[in-house]
């Protein structure tokens, strides 16, 4: 039933409330001082170099792609775990095939050195 998801909704509301509350409270209660140095963008305490919109390495994209692929692999494990006992050996074999195919992908990525950051 939908009412079962009420705790999740409450959780969302609390999370949103904390996030908005922290920003709003620091805006309302906090003391604000402005100076040329204080209004600089914060960059670990040093003087900022360039702007924040520099071009990122394509490696980030590749890592995100791998994350996406193996995330989808993990997604399939959830329903499989739910019916694992009913499926028995048959289920074990089909999931083994699925994971072996993706393990080949992992081995390929590893062998190509795409996981190396260099």
């Amino acid at each position: 039933m939908l009412i079962d998801y009420l705790p999740i909704l409450v959780y969302f509301v609390i999370a949103l409330g904390v996030a908005v509350g922290m920003v709003a409270l620091s805006e309302a209660v906090g003391k604000k001082t402005h100076s040329t140095v204080k209004d600089l963008p914060y960059e670990c305490g040093m003087v900022p170099v360039g702007d924040a919109r520099s071009r990122y390495s394509v490696k980030f994209f590749v890592i995100a792609m791998f994350f996406l692929v193996f995330d989808i692999e993990a997604i399939f494990l959830y329903p499989w775990a739910v019916v694992f006992k009913q499926l028995g050996l048959f289920g074990l074999i089909e999931m083994a095939i699925f994971i072996i195919v993706l393990a080949v992908g992992l081995a390929y990525v590893w062998g190509k050195g795409a996981l190396q950051w260099e």
């Binding site: 994209f61 989808i72 399939f76 089909e94 993706l102 992992l106 795409a114």
Partner: protein, 165 residues
């Protein structure tokens, strides 16, 4: 029940429109997250818990990470002023195409004659039901998915390779 659906549908529509009309791509991405969450809640209303969970984990999680990296990769500077009219032809073409597609869908939906089916069981759409049909009736598509994911991994490696060298 109905009012919840309409609230969620309105959220999804408005956030979807905001994704398109935002100039700043990062803001578009954030509205897309809101859109994904609204859709997930609609899936829950439709009793499809598994799809709802996937919507959050894969779309709002992994795909959004990918989108953000692509946005950062594109090296977008501050949106230039007066750029709104530069792609007027594209806008006219795109919106008329979208209108045509929507009109076609609406026309087809209203013309559709749906035979009365048997009522769904209460656990329809639950993770267990999805799993049962996925691992028995749809075994081949499931195994094909792993091949598809393998292709995606190999493709990502090769694409990134050719770009570096």
């Amino acid at each position: 029940m109905q009012i919840i659906f309409f609230l969620l549908a309105a959220t999804a529509l408005i956030s979807g429109i905001m994704v398109v009309i935002q100039v700043n791509p990062v803001r578009s991405a954030l509205f897309l997250v809101l859109n994904f969450f609204a859709l997930a809640a609609i899936y829950l209303l439709a009793n499809a818990q598994f799809i709802a969970a996937i919507q959050i984990i894969v779309y709002a999680g992994a795909i959004m990470v990918l989108f953000l990296f692509v946005i950062m990769l594109l090296n977008l500077r501050q949106p230039e002023e007066g750029g709104a009219h530069r792609h007027l032809g594209q806008k006219i073409f795109g919106s008329s195409l979208a209108t045509a597609v929507i009109a076609l869908v609406i026309y087809k939906v209203f013309r559709m004659i749906v035979p009365p089916g048997k009522p769904l069981t209460p656990d329809f759409g639950s993770t267990e039901m999805v799993a049962k049909s996925l691992f028995t009736d749809y075994l081949l598509p499931f195994e094909m998915t792993s091949i598809l994911l393998l292709v995606a991994v190999v493709g990502a490696v090769i694409l990134a390779r050719s770009k570096v060298e």
